[in-house]
């Protein structure tokens, strides 16, 4: 089943790789390069879509300029509390969980580095 995925990632190479693997698996990918842009895109999509959730999955890097992934996630969850968010983080998972109290049940974490296929599996598994 084709999923609509919003990506927040500032590394150009990583972004291209996410696009390639996800599109190969038949998903629709929307790319943003920082936290700010990510929230903006999400908000826009909320207005346009007829579906209650504009994106099936939001894939977020934690370390981004302008706004961090955690902040962007918090804003998105305030609008849609059950939005599925996946964090791609190079930090220790534990410290991320303890750091922000915003992380709720609908948030998952995948620790860098990970293989692209495992990312795809994770995204597709939940559905």
């Amino acid at each position: 089943m084709a999923l609509s995925i919003l990506i927040g990632e500032d590394n150009l190479f990583t972004v291209k790789q996410y696009e390639k693997i996800l599109e190969k698996n038949g998903h629709i990918v929307t790319v943003t390069r920082d936290g700010d842009e990510c929230v903006k895109k999400y908000t826009e999509a909320m207005k346009n879509e007829t579906k209650s959730y504009p994106f099936d999955v939001v894939l977020m890097d934690n370390n981004m300029p302008k706004k961090s992934g955690a902040e962007a996630a918090q804003e998105i969850l305030e609008k849609r509390p059950n939005q599925r968010i996946i964090f791609a983080s190079a930090y220790d998972i534990g410290s991320l969980l303890n750091a922000k109290d915003l992380i709720k049940k609908s948030v998952e974490i995948i620790q860098k580095p990970f293989s692209l296929n495992s990312l795809v599996a994770k995204i597709q598994n939940r559905k």
């Binding site: 190479f13 990583t14 693997i21 300029p65 860098k112 580095p113 293989s115 692209l116 296929n117």
Partner: protein
Amino acid sequence: MLVGKTKTGLKIGGSVGIIILLLGVAVLFGLHQMSKVSLEINEISEEYVPLTEILSEIRLHHSKQAQSFEKILRLSDTGIISEVQKSKEEFWMRSGNIESEISRGKTVAQRGIEMISFENNDSQYMVFFQKFVEIERIHNEYENTADSIFLILGSGKIKDVSALLEKTDQFEVELQSEIDSGLKIISTLTDYSTSQIAANERDSIIGQIIIVTMVGAIAATLGFFINQINKDLKKEVDSKTVELKNANEKLKELDRMKDEFIGIASHELKSPIQPIFGFAELAKSGDIDQNEAWDGVTQLAKKLQDLANAVLDVSKIESGRLKLQFEKIPINDSILKEVNELKMNLNQNVKIQKNLDENIEIEIDKIRFGQVIRNLLNNSIKFTSEGTISITTNVFQDENKVLVRISDSGSGIPEDLLPKIFEKFVTKGKDSQSGTGLGLFLCKGIVTAHGGEINAENNLEKGATFEFSLPISQKSKLQKLVKVFTN
């Protein structure tokens, strides 16, 4: 502090010495007084008491002798020969006693003359000796006269003995007088001795009280000095404790900073690894163009290499182990080398402008200097999408200084970052592809190690300017001192 301690140490040692000395003096003084006292007592027991006894005995014996004499005189009339004889025996026996006492008296007087004493007692015992000699004379005359009377009475002749009796009476008076005066002298001497004993004992006590009081005072002073040392030591301990505490705080802070750096550095190292894996995966599955994949991997590997080197350099700078190889290099040549390399990859819209002063020889580490120029130029290029980057040098020979200025017309440095611009991992560009986040930190470290200074500021119009100074020659010791103090 050491001098103070030595002085106090001397004071304490001196005080203890004086205390011991005074106690010794007290003991000696006591002994001295005691010996005086014992000599007095000795004199009393060896001399005064025996002399008194002797004189009393002489008096006693003489009175008995006189009694016998009276008896003889009375009995002569009655004519009882046996009684008279008995009394005569008695008379002469007493005579013997008296003579022996006189002899004893002389001996005692002689002993007194030879006795060691504090006062010159020779004279007084000479007097006594003479006195006994005199008593002996009187006694002999008395007895001679008495004997004459006995003869007359025994012969039966009627003769007038009243004249002779008068003589004996007189001799008795003289005798008593001598004895009396002798006893009086002894009494006076004894009183004097007793008072001397009292005086000596009193002096002894007073002297010892004085000395003990002095000892007490000195001991108190000693206590004071020791307390002083204690206080000084405590002060020193307290100040050292504060020093240690401060040093500890500093160490804790450094430790925290190190941990933070390690945290960030390891994160930065991990981030190129993700796309490298990605490229490998996609290339293997054929979902990406080979060239694109390998170019990407190469680029990422280079970034990792740069970061690894930068981290190593950071560690060297922080622990002061950055080794510089100084050579005399023409400064402009070095600068131009870097500029020309960078020009090749330059955006069309960006120009590099050079305003270089005299191409003097400057004592630098060629590679590290190049690293600084490259870093600063790269920064300028990164943040300038279009415009001019200018590099300027100024030589100040008399001040042993060269100023290098790199200015751009780009986006400038965010105001909140400007104060921290030379710290680690502060710069976060919009494109995290290039840059290690350590470039400016390394520039500062290298410039400082050369004995120079580096500054950054935003231009009034557009962009930012980085300016650093370097000494032309490293030989100046003053330079090195300045470096130490300004760090």
